[in-house]
Amino acid sequence: MRSTNDLDGLQGDFISMQAQKDLVTSAMVDGEVESTNMPVDLTACRDNWALYHLIGDALRRDEAVKPVSSDFTARMSAALQRESSHALTPRGVNPRQSVPASRLKQLFGAWPGLAVAAAVASVVWVVEPIVGLGSATQTGITTATRSNGAQTTLMAEARPELDYASAHRQLASPIAVRDVSFMPRAD
């Protein structure tokens, strides 16, 4: 049985090279790491609420989505642009590589709306299954942006079921992929 120190020793092996350290430091100095604390004030987020639900509908059913207005398109591309510029880029490798649409169709041909899902996934589904909610909303969905210092936030309706499902998956899920749970910085 490895001692608790061994993991740190292994981490020593993992320590990245100086160039990588510099990259992260500069990212931190630039304030490019965000917190996922979510404001509870829903009135301020009404536009985003509508946007979230529209996207949610698009993911679920193609026919539920009316042709998008140019306003929506403009906001979406703006959000996507801001989102990609904030991604930390380690070692020159883009961590946002997702599977190309053609491959997706090959894998999941029967699934409707999947191309839409893949396209908007990086904007909408910045989902952290944060375990435990008080009266505040549960699964917060945050666009990884900062505009004028304020955080743009999409709020989900309080869905206790999502929370419990998420808490369940963290420990026990048949086709198990990791879900992280953590409490945001309590400050």
Binding site: Q11, V33, S135, A165, L171, I175, V177
Partner: protein, 332 residues
Amino acid sequence: MTVYCSRFLAGFLIWLLSSGLAMALGQQSDAKAAELWLTRAQQAAKSLNYQGTFVHQRNGELRSFRLAHGLRQGDEVERLEVLDDAPREYLRVNDRVQCLIPDQQLVVIERQQQERFPALLMSGLDHITENYDLRVASDLQRVAGRSCVNMTIRPRDGFRPAYDLCVDQQTGLLLEAQMLDQRGTVLEHIAFSEIRVGDPIEQLALQPSWSTQSWRTVERTPKSIDLKSQGWFYQLPPGYQAVIQVQRSFKGGREVAHTVLTDGLATISIFIEPYQQNLSHHQKVGASTVGAVNLYGRKHESFWIMVVGEAPAQAVRMVAESLVRKGALHNR
């Protein structure tokens, strides 16, 4: 005439018996072959070197991941990168996992409680075959450019879902898995889109993307509990047993008892906590569904019970409705 008849009859009976026997044996060997593939898949996941990307689809969400796994001096080492949404990485040595969360500058360390893809089983194989019918298909499929053997795992009753697997013909590694409900609807789907098996893992593949020296580190060691000793009784669906029982802290200071039941593949969670009248999480009584997950909420005495699982609704409901605290019966 009679002699011919009886000889014919005898011959016919012998043929009937032997072919019936052969069929029974064939079925048995088919199930045995499937068991062997499943065992092999489990071992391959833990002992082989492999690197690749896989896609996980659930409830309309799609995420891709990059995985590197190998054995180093007898230890399992692994790095999992979340390629979509917020960047995350998981570094694992055996059952100790570091979760790197760059947007919080946080490292969460915890002990891995269950197997993760491409490992699959939560308990031994003998229980699996009691509850599921295992079959190996004769034709091969192709996943991630590799030939793989198709396996079907079908429930013997209505208390668990069905699975379709594809395991690599050459190495036995699980390449694709689907979970299906009673009607054959795909509830969850995971598959490698590209993979290399057997090559030694380079150090670079296991290095995290960020330097975490200045980050906060939180070690999570949930307290073990035992529902029974706390006075709870409940009915297990056939074939299920409790495998994890821990006390977890939810946000807002809620202490929740979390018990995990499994039949080896399917899992059901029981959450029990003190009831809070104004809490939104304690309002939804009865059955509900979130994608592949069935839930059942119930208030019992001063407790809130929520049972959750990728099992059919009747299994979830059965557990939820059967939960009772011993004190209730005697202290009226």
